[in-house]
């Protein structure tokens, strides 16, 4: 009874011609952007001379060149690059359409829709403020996430395996949880006598709720067969919780993480607008009210960057946690 050993795919391998072709697509799009941007005259606003969009495109090309070279040999990088190729190209075509619609033709007008070049200019001009706001946002978010996830994980596990804990926590979950953080915020600020602590509490709540709800349900629903198997092997209750119930709940944990993260973003924005008085969301609104839309877009981009980076990290964690799952949809 000998069966073939499973084979592992090597990390280093050569790219096929087809893959190389696919990875060239973003270059084509960036080049197209560059040519169109250079060829068409700048008409709107008349006095504006673009300085940033062309160098920015060159930087993007350089970055993609590094990825391209790396992916010629490194298989995981290549897989990712090939997957993203069409999408990246599409984004760059959109950017150029935007450039054409604003700077090149004036179809979309200032002050509401600035050109890409204008946004980059504003980004550079307001760099210090953007960094400060980003740091303020991130630090509040990180604290809220850390506290919320730890408490949420603990209460999720506890409610999942203890009927008594479930009895006392589940009403709280049902009453407090579904109400958005924005509503709790003023109450928390009064209760904690501090807008910072109140804001933090609102974020913690937004993170805690989905984590506890999803995790405790997943743990409660552990297949009895898996538990009984551990029991007949002499595992204690605690051992079963740690080595059967929690690992079994990991797919749900990954979903919970995602829900918690998106909950935290909403609560963060609410907290910044109505609580702490710092951060990116507040900056966006303030700049919006004085109609400085170039800066607004710059702040919005900073926010998109932060949220999507955090989401990407979360998905990487999820994929790593679920590496044992069959046919997992990897985002």
């Amino acid at each position: 009874m000998t069966e073939q050993r499973p084979q592992k795919e090597p990390i280093i391998s050569r790219a096929s011609l087809r893959e190389v072709g696919r990875m060239l697509i973003p270059f084509a799009a960036m080049l197209l952007d560059y040519v169109v941007h250079a060829a068409l005259p700048n008409v709107y606003p008349e006095t504006y001379t673009p300085k940033y969009w062309a160098p920015c495109l060159l930087v993007c090309m350089a970055v993609w060149a590094v990825v391209f070279v790396a992916s010629l040999a490194i298989r995981p990088v290549r897989k990712k690059a090939c997957r993203l190729a069409w999408f990246i190209a599409f984004i760059f075509v959109l950017f150029e359409a935007w450039d054409v619609a604003t700077l090149k033709t004036g179809t979309l007008k200032l002050p509401f829709i600035p050109s890409p070049d204008k946004i980059i200019e504003q980004f550079i001009a307001n760099w210090g403020n953007i960094v400060n706001a980003t740091v303020a946002s991130l630090s509040l978010l990180a604290q809220g996430l850390a506290v919320g996830l730890v408490i949420g994980f603990a209460s999720g596990v506890l409610c999942g395996c203890s009927a008594i804990a479930n009895y006392w926590v589940s009403p709280l979950l049902k009453i407090v949880g579904p109400v958005p953080g924005l509503i709790w915020l003023p109450i928390f600020v009064i209760a904690f006598q501090s807008s910072y602590a109140g804001s933090l509490a609102a974020i913690v709540l937004a993170v805690w709720f989905p984590m506890t709800l999803i995790l405790s349900n997943a743990i409660k629903n552990t297949d009895i067969g898996l538990i009984e198997r551990a029991e007949t092997l002499g595992a204690s209750k605690a051992h079963i919780v740690v080595h059967v119930m929690i690992p079994n709940a990991v797919p749900a944990l990954a979903d919970a993480l995602f829900m918690s993260l998106s909950g935290s973003f909403g609560a963060l924005a609410a907290a910044e607008l109505c609580g702490v008085g710092t951060g990116l969301a507040l900056a966006v609104r303030m700049m919006g009210t004085i109609a400085n839309f170039g800066v607004v877009f710059a702040y919005v981009f900073a926010m998109i960057l932060i949220f999507s980076t955090l989401t990407a990290i979360m998905f990487a964690v999820r994929n790593w946690l679920l590496r044992w799952q069959k046919g997992l949809v990897r985002w």
Binding site: M1, T2, E3, Q4, R5, P6, D223, G225, L226, E228, R229, A230, E231, T232, L233, G234, A235, S236, H239, H243, V244, P247, N248, V250, W324, Q325, K326
Partner: protein, 254 residues
Amino acid sequence: MVAGNHQLIAAHVSRWFTGEDGVKLLALDDFNLEVNQGEVVALIGPSGCGKSTFLRLVAGLDEMQEGTLTYDGDPITAPSPNRGFVFQQANLYPWLTVEKIVAFGLKANNEYQEKKLRVQEMIDLMGLSGFEKSYPHQISGGMAARVAIAQTLVMDPEVILLDEPLSALDAFTRAVIQDEILKMVDRFHPIVLLVTHDIEEAVYLSDRVIVLSPRPGTNIADIPVDLPHPRDRISPEFIAKRHEVLDALNFEEA
């Protein structure tokens, strides 16, 4: 077949389930069994007659309403690594590799450091070498069944409960594992309760074949299989035994 001092006794065991509508479903009715150390006892009976129910009681996973169930004189009240159970479904932990699944019981009992070598030994014995690092979804159903057997046997249990463990295997692999079970019985003299629908398997492996009636299950026949090992599956004596068991299973005519 060395008769040792460990003993499993079931006396007048009855187990019923009460449904949502309050209707009593009698699964086992006054079931009796006495098994000594080193004995392999096969339980055979129609589907739904309470074989799995009985094994679950012996494992300590379930409680009966009437009767007594003792191991070495002590009532069975809870599961113990001493009584290993190979379930009808493999139920492997999908997040663990084969190697870690087999080591699960040892780790849970803090015996892993001393008995590390047993893990590899069981993996090799079950023909799983090379798949130590595979996850359950990467192995076949027959291999999963063998992992489940390895996971239970690695604990060297005194009582081994096998609930149709080989039904997912091809004829050849099944014969190999059957011989491994016999070797292990020879080495460790456990009590083995084997539930099977395969009369040939029952006659090949066991010292006694217990035939159960259709639900509610109760003893109908206790057929000793006094053929020497290794047994020749096509010898006239072997085939005569198969007929004897088959006859006992033919309730309609009885």
